[in-house]
Every structure is written in C-alpha cells, then in structure tokens.
Amino acid sequence: MSERVIISGGRVVDPANKRDEIADVIIENGRIADILAHVSAKPKRNGNGASNGATVIDAQGCIVAPGFVDLHTHLRQPGREDKETIETALRAAVSGGFTTVCAMPNTEPAIDSRGVVEMVRQEAQRVGLADAQVIGAVTIGRQGKELTPFAELFEAGCVGLSDDGSPVGHSLLMRRALEYARMFDRPIIQHAEDSQLAAGGVMHEGAVSTRLGLRGMPGAAETVMVARDIALAELTGGWLHVAHISCAETVDLIRDAKRRGIRVTCEATPHHLALTDAAVGDFDTLAKVNPPLRTDRDRRALMQGLADGTIDAIATDHAPHTDWEKEAEFDQAPFGISGLETALAVCITELIETKALAWPQLIERLSTTPAKIARLASGSLAKGAAADITVINPSLRWRVQAARFASKGRNTPFDQKDLIGRAVAVLRNGRLVYEAKEAGEA
C-alpha cells in the first residue's frame, strides 16, 4: 500500500538536522520521503484535502516538529486501571503531541521482569496510537533491596531503569546499579529524594507550608541525593539520569557535573516550570505533586537550565489519579498531576511567549534530546525516518477543561486556565493518530 501524505507550508523545526524553515514534508509509506521548499499549493487554501492521490495537511502558520518523546509517564496499567489504562494514556499522549511515551515501572506488579515489559508493549501495540517504551525497575518490586535482572529487562526492550517514586536510597546498591548498567549503555533514572529528610512531607518546605502547617519537603532532600548520585556516577562511569528536577541548587550541581565530564542527564516537568508552592493556595490537592512545586527562584533557575542546556529534556511525569483520591485530606491525597494534555501548551505559554526559549530549543527538549536519552530513532525528521510528526498551532488560545481530557486523570492544577498553543495534528508512522476537532479559537 503506497500512502502519500504532504504536510504543506508549515515551519519545519527539526533540531536534530538543524532545520528551521517553511517547507513541505513529504511522507511515503509511513516514512519521511523528503522535505522540499514549500510549493504554494493551488486548490487547498481552505484546509486539508487530497492532491494527486496524496493526503494534504495544511500546516500554514503551524510548527511542524518531530513527535514528542515523554521520558516520564505513568500508565498505571497493570494494577490501577481505575486511574488510567494504557489505551487512555496513549490517547492522552497523542492529543498532547506525544508520539512516544516511556512508561514508569511503579505499576502493580512493578515492571521488574520480562513478562510485565512484554505485557505493556503488547497492549500499547494493540492500541496503536503512540509508541510505549518501557522503563524497568532497578530493584525487585521497587523494594530497594535486590537488583532486577538488568540483562533480561534490556533485552525485552527497556530504555532505562528506575525505581521512580521510591528513590534508590542505599548508596552501595546505587553504585552497583550504575556500574552494572554500563554494559548496556542505558541510564539509571533516579527520583532524587532523601527519604529520611523528606519523610512525611506533603509540599515544599517554605513560607507557604509554614503558614498552612503542612509538613514540608526541603529542597535539600533533593540536592543531597543528586550530589550523592553525581559522586557515584563519577566513581563508576555509569549514566545517571535525574528525573523531574525541581531545585535551583540541583541545576547548579548538574551544570557543574556536566562541565566536569560526568555522565549525567536530567529532565524537568512543565508544572515545575510554570508553578510555585503558592499554587497549593488553601490546600488544593491538585497542586500536590512530588517533587513538590517550589519557589519562584527555583522556577527561574529551571528555565535558565533549560535555556543553557543543563536540563536535557522536558518530561511530563504524567500521574493520573481518580477524583475521589484527590478529594482526600491534603496530607493523605496522592501526589501527582495529569500532564500529557497540557504539557505543550504550558511550555508555549511559559517558555515561548516569555521568550525564555526559542522554538528550536523547545522542540529539542520535547523531541530530540529525550529520544537520544531513550536511544530511539525518533525525534528527528531525517529522510527515511519513521514519520512521527506533531503539527502545532502556536498561537491558538484555549481553556483547559480537565473534564474533557482523554486521560482518565483529571487531576490538574491547570484546569480552567487559559493557555496558548496546542497540537492540531499528530502522525505516527505517517498515519494521522490525532487531529484537533475545533480548528478555531477554543
């Protein structure tokens, strides 16, 4: 079957190939056949249509980017299908512009064996919207005691290992994990938190937690762990990837480690870039997330880290929960934000509109570098590459309506917020897997 798709007249931003120009992307048989200077198309000024047997997507005024790769997604399946299923998560992913998500292993059971990895990948293939890659657990049952069978997990296709949510606290075990993973050239992904320092904490320790009488998690709970892990990465030569960093001091530690040639990468989430602990307001559990929303100083340091390349990737930490769980007492409610469907718009609103980042930089953090960290072929619009493409309307103003999310998790502090920009068409392997229903102002 020879299928031809033309994405016509958009601004093609492909940092992997240093491309940023108005062009037509030609897709044949699910792969990028060519990128040509834009030919002002004749009959199709009024939207999408067919031309010479090809499907034409009119992308004028839009950004055409390699599909986004999320390094940090909680699919919840197996185990908590009431919060999210692989199908609803992948539907949420493509509506947010993500063509690949990396599933975190804190499912029930944890992803600590080949069987669970295969189950997740098979179900994702059946759903077929976005690609689901898998991050396996570092320790069996994420218990922090015994290493999982790394070789078996990587052979089954894992792109990294993490005990996310439960930091690897034992220093010798972390050393062994970083050391052993070297032969696979894959990262150990750490949720950097000193469990004793953060014990019982439910938000950032600062002026807001002090006023509200809530137990705080100090920034030091993160930086203590990051400093230790950098020392271990230096000792072992292993690859450390620090998940969802939240503190100004963490940015400094990682910047310094990179300068010293230590193999460390990291990610930050849109909510840590957009919000501070003030979002907790009067005990809003929708703003309860771990690591916690911190101060404006931290937020600005993250932006700086993104701009100067210290922070390699933007990852959602998509963490769907049921409404009733988030209705609990603040200190009992679960941590997490449903992030796939707002990530891009939050980034455009907070980073592009404020000129903190230019478009190529944002696409690099959403597609190019996360694909490199997961060692995937995606994240590039090179000729011959699989056509995973996200078309973005960069100026569309819309209001977040969590009740209309594709995700089962409606837990977002951005509900009812006005944001700018969104994915309007998403292709995976050249097939249209998402198309925005309303093209106009939402």
Binding site: R211, E327, A328, E329, D331, Q332
Partner: protein, 324 residues
Amino acid sequence: MTTTVQDVAVSPWMRKDLLGLWELSADEIRLILQTAGSFREVSERSIKKVPALRGKTVVNLFFEPSTRTRTSFELAAKRLSADIINIAAQTSSLSKGETILDTVRNLEAFNVDIIVIRHQSAGVPHAIARKSAASVINAGDGSHEHPTQALLDMFTIQEKKGRIEGLNVSIIGDIAHSRVARSNVWGLTKLGAKVTLCGPPTLMPKHLDDWNTRVTFDVEEAIEGADVLMLLRIQHERQETTLVPSLREYRLRYGLNAERLARGKPDVLVMHPGPINRGVELDSSVADGPNSVILEQVTNGLAVRMAVLYLVAGQGRPPSIEEK
C-alpha cells in the same frame, strides 16, 4: 456590669464559616470578641440559656480526641438552645474506603446547620466548607489553625489587660507544630500586639519572614518585658525523637518555673491552651499561681464559642439576647 470588651463600631458578620484567623480582618476579630462579651454575661445568670439558636442543628465532628474543646462547643450550643450531636471518628476516612467529603455529604443529608470539625490533617475544614452548604467552624486542623482557642486567648488578654494593642506577648514552645501558635500570631498581630516566638530551633519554623514576629531561642529573653506568656504543650504524639533530646532537657532550658517567672513583669499573665504537661513546659507552682489565668481561659472559651456559633448561624444580624 461594665462590658469588658470595648465597643467598636463594626460591620456585621458576613462569613458562612470560621476557618481561621489568617483570613479575618481586625474588625471581624473585634466583632467576635465583642459578641463574646455579651455572651459571657449569659453564663453568669441563674438560667444559663438563651433561645438564639433554637431549631438549629450543630454537629461536633471530632476526628482527634478532645475533651476540652468538644465539651466547650457542646455546652456553648446547648446554652444557645441548639440541638447538638457528637461524632467521634478516630480514623482517616480513606482507610474505610470513603473520603472525608463522603462523610460530610452524609451529614448534609440530615440538613445540619453547623459543622464543628477537628481533624488531624490541616485543611480539612476548608475542603468541607467549599463543598458544604452548612457553616463550618474549625475546631483545630492539624498544625494549621485553632481559631476559637486564639480568640478565647485574646478575649482573656483583653479582659485582664484592658487592651491588646501594644502588648508584648511571648509564645513559648513547639511553634512549628502548633495550630494555637499560628492562630494567635495572625490574631494578635492584627490587633496590634508585639509577638515574640520562643523555642529551640528544631521547634521553630524557618520561614517566618512574613509573620511579623520576633524570634528568640532564649527563654529569658522571651520573659523579659512580656505582658503575656503563652506556653504551648510539648506534644509527645507529634514528636520525633530528633526534635529535642529529651523532655528533661526541654524543661531545664525552656520550662517556666517560679524562678524564671520572677524575672518577668510582676503582672505578667501566664496562659496555656491545655492540657498542661505539669513539670515539662510549666511548673505546677506557676500553673496554679497568681499569674496564671488558665481556668479563666476555659470559662472564656465558652463565651467565645457561643459568639462564633451565633455569628455563623445568624450571618449579619446584631446580637440580641433576651432571657427566655
């Protein structure tokens, strides 16, 4: 009888709930104290009951054990002729598979008018108030606020000293985990008192820039020049071992005894929200001594809680109290 609370022209009470003193204006606090002054007199009559809340239903919903506060609210409601029921729930609702809001929706189905709630988790009264048509009174939420305690403390200070503005009030103890301290800081500073916080650094919050208070780790410094000493209970149940090395060391360094008290102003008031740890934060001789107003605090608590119940139930009408 002269009223002990100065008459201030204030606007009527417009709030559905009393959740904390953080969000109240100085005028709103004065209105509660003024109303409490009127009710204080009711408790001294031979018939201690007024019909103000006849036909209203009050629920005392206590998720934490409490004798003093629960009894005080119960008696206050009864003296206002309200119907009151007590519900003691000791566990987090999630452990039963339902949320706190499910519990409240069940109560709402009985058409209750006022929910008085104490809960070990900060913010629960706020969550309930947002969802419930009933008035919500916070009777203590975690380490957050205990507004009626602070109001009765302020009422007592006002009664004994004739004013609050300009007074030096030192709060000594576990500031970090104390809802009484928070409510008193917001209330007292709004009415113009100069508040000093005193305790070991491990019991002192680190982010106090916007609290408008003075901080000292030295108890002698807190006592010197103080018009009021407010002692806080060292709460064993909220303590990890690492906060203070031992209760003995706390007593030696911060405990208020006769010797330390003698270095303060002769007419300094000694207050405590109770229950007292005799021999820890407060020596028995001081607790029972002439400077102590601890039992007056309890008496005034009743008047303050009557005032609060009355104001949230009536929302806006000025007090009119007739004997039945």
